[in-house]
Every structure is written in structure tokens, then in C-alpha cells.
């Protein structure tokens, strides 16, 4: 495996941050601290991390409703993310987006997305920008097994193929679209095979194996940077928590959950790097401890942050617009 020690340290740190962030949200949601819909990425850390390990700040991501992992792997600020999820004015989106819409355009993170299949057309647009400007920026488009059935996904694959766009389509097949297994919802069963019909390389990989993801992602990103067009990768992974927080998960067996947790991507990473003497246990433990502290710090920041106020309600709809028309025909306002 051709991966530097620095990258390994970075990857372990990112995976620990994601896991810690999601586990903490799971607990805090149950305690009633978090408003709204929250979809957690725990279990899938190797996918976001394995791809983002190859990306620069000026590369782009499109994401999903389960976007926290993508954000953390792309380098979005942890405090701003947590404050956003708490609905605070200091959030990444000033509290206007919440968990499902965290974005950081300056980091190339074009937004978590509440619409299943919303991302692939947008990813094509980011790819088109790079192509027209003549840069070697790439776009990674994450979506799930549910979105693999959406028409927008097929339209995006077709457009990326026709225009040879520098886009990597990553289907995170975590076994469930909300409650529904692809065994029921995916005709033909083979998601990766579908993309081959669009004339692009496409493979299925073990998404619980960081090194498998890292290797496949590296090839796809390099191919896109060389201007050779899109690649499709189905990363087979597993979602530890429910579709959203509050989901009682009555649609799958505990034995299945135990099986996948025995293949945990972070545990396997640790085992591999220790056995191959790439990193030491002490280094790994120190990273995990720092991740715990970073998430605790983000929670403290979010807790202490102010809520947005009435002045914020009408801002950021447009770059320019007459404010009186944002609440028209009436005198009495909130």
C-alpha cells in the first residue's frame, strides 16, 4: 500500500473524529439536546476518509442527508458543524441549514442534501466548471443505495459520461434506504454494473476496508485529474445507527448488526497499521483521545453560542433583493 505515514495519521484522526462526533450526537439527541432530523454516518467512516485522503481544498464534494462524515473528512470546522446542528448563529450556515444542509463552499463542500439523488447533477456542474476553466479539480459525488435508483443519478452519470467530466460517483451502499434493503429495491441487484452501461469504469469495493477504499479512490481521482472522465465506485458499507435519530430500527436483526460491527472499519485500520508496524498503539490512542477532546470542545462551543435572532430571518435569501418584499402585503411581522 502506497500511503505515507502522514496520510495514515490523518486518516485515523478523521475516522476517529467522525465516529466520536456521531456517537456524541447519538447520545445528545437521546438526551433531547438536538432539534430536527439527524442522520448519522457512524460505521461508514472509511468511505469518506478514503476518498477525501486524495482531495485538495479546491476539489469539490456533493453529499447526502447523511453528510457529517463527508464534511469532517473534507475539513469543515468541527465547531461550526456542531453549532449548526444545534441551530446556533455561529453555525457553518448561521443555523439556517442544520444537519441536513451543512456546507462550506470555501472548502469545496457543496452541501449535505436533503433530497435523495439531489447531488449527481450538481456534481456534474462542479465538474463542468473545472473542465471549462481548465483546472485539474475533481468532484466526488457521494450518494446512497437509495439514490442509485433515482433518475437524477442516471442523468448525472449520462451527462458526466457524455461530457467526460472529472467526477467520481461514489455509491455508499449501507444496506438500507431508510428501512428498505437494495435486495428489494435495486432491480438486478448489482449497483456497480449499472454504471458500466454509461461507458465508465465501475467497481464494487469493501467500503469497510479503509485501504481498499483508499486504493480505488486514488485511481479514480488520478483518472479524473488526468482528464480521462468519470468513474463509479460502489462502496459496500454499513450504517450503525438508524435512518435518523429516534429510529427504533425494527427492520434488521441484531445479529446482522453484530456481524458488521465485528468488521468495524476503525478497528480494522488499527489492527492493520499495528500489525504492519506503520503506526504505534500509543500514537493511535493519542489520536483517539484528541478526537474525543475536539468533539467535546465543539459541543461546548455550540452550547455556549448564541441563537439566531429575528434580524437573521430575512437575510441570505438573495444576494440582492428588496427586503420589504420578503414579507409582502402585511404590516405586522414577527
Amino acid at each position: 500500500m502506497d500511503i505515507s505515514r502522514d496520510r495514515l495519521l490523518w486518516a485515523y484522526e478523521r475516522m476517529c473524529l467522525i465516529r466520536e462526533f456521531e456517537d456524541r450526537l447519538h447520545a445528545d439527541f437521546a438526551a433531547g439536546k438536538i432539534p430536527g432530523f439527524v442522520h448519522l454516518y457512524a460505521g461508514e467512516e472509511a468511505v469518506a476518509t478514503g476518498f477525501c485522503a486524495h482531495l485538495r481544498d479546491d476539489d469539490f464534494l456533493t453529499s447526502t442527508h447523511r453528510g457529517h462524515g463527508h464534511c469532517i473528512a473534507k475539513g469543515v470546522d468541527l465547531r461550526a458543524m456542531m453549532a449548526e446542528i444545534y441551530g446556533k448563529a455561529t453555525g457553518a450556515c448561521k443555523g439556517k441549514g442544520g444537519s441536513m444542509h451543512i456546507a462550506d463552499v470555501d472548502k469545496g463542500m457543496l452541501g449535505a442534501n436533503g433530497i435523495v439523488g439531489g447531488g449527481p447533477p450538481l456534481a456534474c456542474g462542479a465538474g463542468l466548471s473545472a473542465k471549462i476553466k481548465g483546472t485539474d479539480q475533481v468532484t466526488v459525488c457521494f450518494f446512497g443505495d437509495g439514490a442509485s435508483n433515482q433518475g437524477t443519478t442516471f442523468e448525472g452519470l449520462n451527462l458526466a459520461g457524455v461530457w467526460k467530466l472529472p467526477v467520481i460517483f461514489v455509491c455508499e451502499n449501507n444496506g438500507y434506504a431508510e428501512t428498505t434493503s437494495p435486495r428489494y429495491s435495486v432491480s438486478g441487484q448489482d449497483i456497480a454494473a449499472r454504471a458500466r452501461g454509461f461507458g465508465m469504469p465501475s467497481i464494487a469495493i469493501d467500503g469497510l476496508d479503509f485501504f481498499a477504499v483508499y486504493e480505488a479512490a486514488g485511481e479514480a481521482v488520478a483518472r479524473a485529474r488526468r482528464g480521462e472522465g468519470p468513474t463509479f465506485i460502489e462502496a459496500q458499507t454499513y450504517r450503525y445507527y438508524g435512518h435518523f435519530e429516534g429510529d427504533t430500527i425494527k427492520y434488521r436483526d441484531r445479529e446482522e448488526e453484530a456481524h458488521y460491527k465485528s468488521l468495524d472499519c476503525i478497528g480494522r485500520f488499527r489492527t492493520t497499521v499495528i500489525e504492519q508496524e506503520l503506526l504505534s498503539q500509543a500514537e493511535l490512542d493519542a489520536i483517539a483521545a484528541r478526537a474525543r477532546e475536539a468533539v467535546a470542545d465543539a459541543v461546548r462551543f455550540a452550547d455556549a453560542s448564541p441563537l439566531p435572532g429575528a434580524d437573521d430571518l430575512l437575510t441570505d435569501v438573495y444576494v440582492s433583493y428588496p427586503e420589504r418584499e420578503l414579507w409582502p402585503f402585511q404590516e405586522v411581522r414577527a
Partner: protein, 344 residues
């Protein structure tokens, strides 16, 4: 601010005026690109004879590929969600795309990308994104094109926060407003009435930009205000001419910009005339016509000497048969009758 350089007035068609605005904006700013179905035609062929085979289904974008090339003038597959979303993504990442949605009735096959992505991104992201996207789309009945190719359902887009919506009636307004739409940093839906493509009018040469959100009084009058949109401005002017011969002085206000809405110009006219007729080719429920009536009721009721009269299409799809379609579109005769009714 209206910018006019070389103020020599010559006559262009509405189609030519739109083409000129696209050409000038693409010259001015290399980040402006144009894409849509058959905006050139025959992209499978590199043969010069096939290049620009259509130049748009009604020839509006003819010639642009010759000047700007296929990198910036792109035919798309017939996948409206795919290319509309690509326009949104390109706008979010530094281009200034003009995306052609051939007919407004096709909004249904890409509405999510317009409404949930383009229109909401800036707000959802706390103001940290801008989406300088222009969607050009055709409206208008009269081509015997039946229900899915003839709608004027721009009020649908007016309903969604985050979008701006324009509907020019004249060649000059088409040029000036399209330039403004392309330069604007928000997503703009630019509605071209296909029945107007061959209409001609004076159009300023060179750079010509009309600010968004400004209505235009196309004819001044004292007795009744007729607010109209797109092709209905022409019908309102025809009605006003006939009303004049009956001794009625009608003021015709062309909204031009549906979002933002120029409330002041409309209200000032109502305060002057005391009577209001609203003419709209869109279906009447939840419509811009209804908004203008709401504006009058909430902010100018004391000035009204008669109930507001609406003259709109019926609440039906656009019919195919010429006999029915001609009844569907608001006519000058209906506008005259409505104006007379406000005068008692």
C-alpha cells in the same frame, strides 16, 4: 442604473434582441456559458455544414457556437434534471451559466434542481453560496402547441423564495433584462414569449442593461390602470388605443419583473387613476394577477373607486384546437370590457 452606450436606435426582433444580449454577455464575461437542448443542433457531427443546425428550437441561439465554440455553447442530452442541476452546480462553483429550459411546461422534469437546490442553497448555507444562474424558458399560447408546450406558468416560480422572475414584452426589454439577469448573482428565470419572437421594436445598440425590479409605464393615462405581463402588454396597449377613441385614458403598466415586484410603480398608478385591471396569460389561481389585486387591496384600497378586475386565462390547461386556444388567451376585447366595468 440603466447603462446605455452608443444610443443609436435601430429595430430588432425580440429573437434578435435576445441573441444579441447573449452574444454581448458572452463576449464580456468568459464565465458565461450557454447550455440546453439543441441550442446548436447536430453536436454529433464536426462537419461545418451541420454546426449550428438549429441554433435553438426556434433559432434564438443561432450563430453563438460559431463565435464561442462548443466548450461554451453546449447541446445537452434531453435530461432536464441533469443539465439544470449541472447549471446549478456550475453556478455554485464559479461559472455564470445560462441554461435553456425549452418550454416552461418542462419545469416538472427539473423542478427539484431549481426549487430545492438553486433557490434554497444560499439560504441553507447561511449566505455562503451564490448561484448566478439564468434559466431561459419559453412561455405563451398561440402556437397550437397544446397543453404541455404553451403554458405561461411563471407564477409557480414567483412563489419560491430565492428565485427572481422576468417576463419582457418588447425587444428592448428582452435585451436589457437578459443582460441584467446574466449579470445578477441570484438565480433568475427569464420567460421568453414565443409568440413575440418575430415582433420588432427599437433596441439600443451596444451594452444595454435594465435593472431588475422596475416596472415600465408603457402608456400614460389618467382614468384606469391596466397592469399587464409579457404578450398581454401588447393586448393592453391595443385595448388602451381603442379605449382612447372612446374617451377613456388608460395607463398601461408593464410589470417586466415579477420577482422582485415594483410595488411602487403599480401603487402610484392606482393612486392616480383609482381603477385597476390586471391582465395575465397565466392561470388565475395563486397567480401574479392575484398578487397585484392583493397589493391593491392591502395598500391602495382607499384609492380604488371600483373593484379590481382580473382578465386572465381560464383555470384550464391550454387547449389545442385553434378555435379554443383563441378563446383561452386574454383578448383586447376582454380588457376593454373590464376597463369599462371599472368606470361604471
Amino acid at each position: 442604473m440603466t447603462v446605455m452606450v452608443e444610443e443609436a436606435v435601430r429595430t430588432l426582433s425580440y429573437r434578435e434582441a435576445i441573441n444579441e444580449a447573449l452574444r454581448l454577455e458572452m463576449r464580456r464575461d468568459p464565465s458565461v456559458i450557454l447550455m440546453g437542448e439543441d441550442v446548436t443542433g447536430a453536436s454529433q457531427s464536426d462537419d461545418e455544414a451541420h454546426l449550428d443546425a438549429w441554433g435553438g428550437v426556434l433559432g434564438v441561439t443561432k450563430g453563438l457556437v460559431h463565435e464561442f465554440g462548443r466548450q461554451r455553447v453546449r447541446d445537452t442530452p434531453i435530461t432536464e434534471s441533469g443539465f439544470m442541476g449541472a447549471g446549478v452546480g456550475a453556478a455554485a462553483t464559479g461559472l455564470r451559466p445560462v441554461v435553456e429550459l425549452m418550454f416552461i411546461g418542462f419545469m416538472g422534469v427539473c423542478l427539484d434542481q431549481i426549487v430545492n437546490q438553486a433557490a434554497k442553497m444560499r439560504y441553507m448555507f447561511g449566505g455562503k453560496a451564490k448561484i448566478p444562474l439564468t434559466v431561459r424558458t419559453m412561455i405563451g399560447a398561440g402556437f397550437r402547441a397544446a397543453a404541455q408546450h404553451s403554458d405561461s406558468i411563471y407564477s409557480t416560480f414567483v412563489h419560491f423564495p430565492g428565485l427572481k422572475v422576468l417576463a419582457p414584452a418588447t425587444p428592448a426589454d428582452a435585451k436589457g433584462l437578459l443582460a441584467a439577469a446574466i449579470r445578477d448573482d441570484d438565480p433568475v428565470i427569464f420567460c421568453e414569449n414565443k409568440v413575440l419572437y418575430d415582433t420588432k421594436g427599437p433596441v439600443p445598440e451596444g451594452e444595454y442593461v435594465i435593472p431588475l425590479g422596475k416596472a415600465d409605464v408603457k402608456r400614460a393615462g389618467d382614468d384606469v390602470t391596466i397592469v399587464a405581463i409579457s404578450r398581454m402588454v401588447l393586448h393592453a396597449l391595443e385595448a388602451a388605443e381603442q379605449l382612447a377613441s372612446q374617451g377613456v385614458s388608460a395607463e398601461v403598466v408593464d410589470l417586466r419583473s415579477l420577482a422582485p415586484l415594483d410595488e411602487e410603480t403599480v401603487l402610484a398608478s392606482i393612486r392616480k387613476t383609482g381603477r385597476l385591471v390586471v391582465v395575465d396569460e397565466d392561470n388565475p389561481r395563486c397567480s401574479v394577477a392575484g398578487d397585484i389585486a392583493t397589493l391593491a387591496a392591502t395598500q391602495a384600497l382607499d384609492y380604488l373607486n371600483a373593484p379590481v378586475k382580473l382578465v386572465t386565462a381560464p383555470h384550464t390547461p391550454v387547449p389545442f384546437s385553434p378555435a379554443l386556444e383563441d378563446l383561452y388567451v386574454p383578448s383586447p376585447a376582454r380588457i376593454i370590457a373590464a376597463a369599462q366595468a371599472t368606470l361604471g
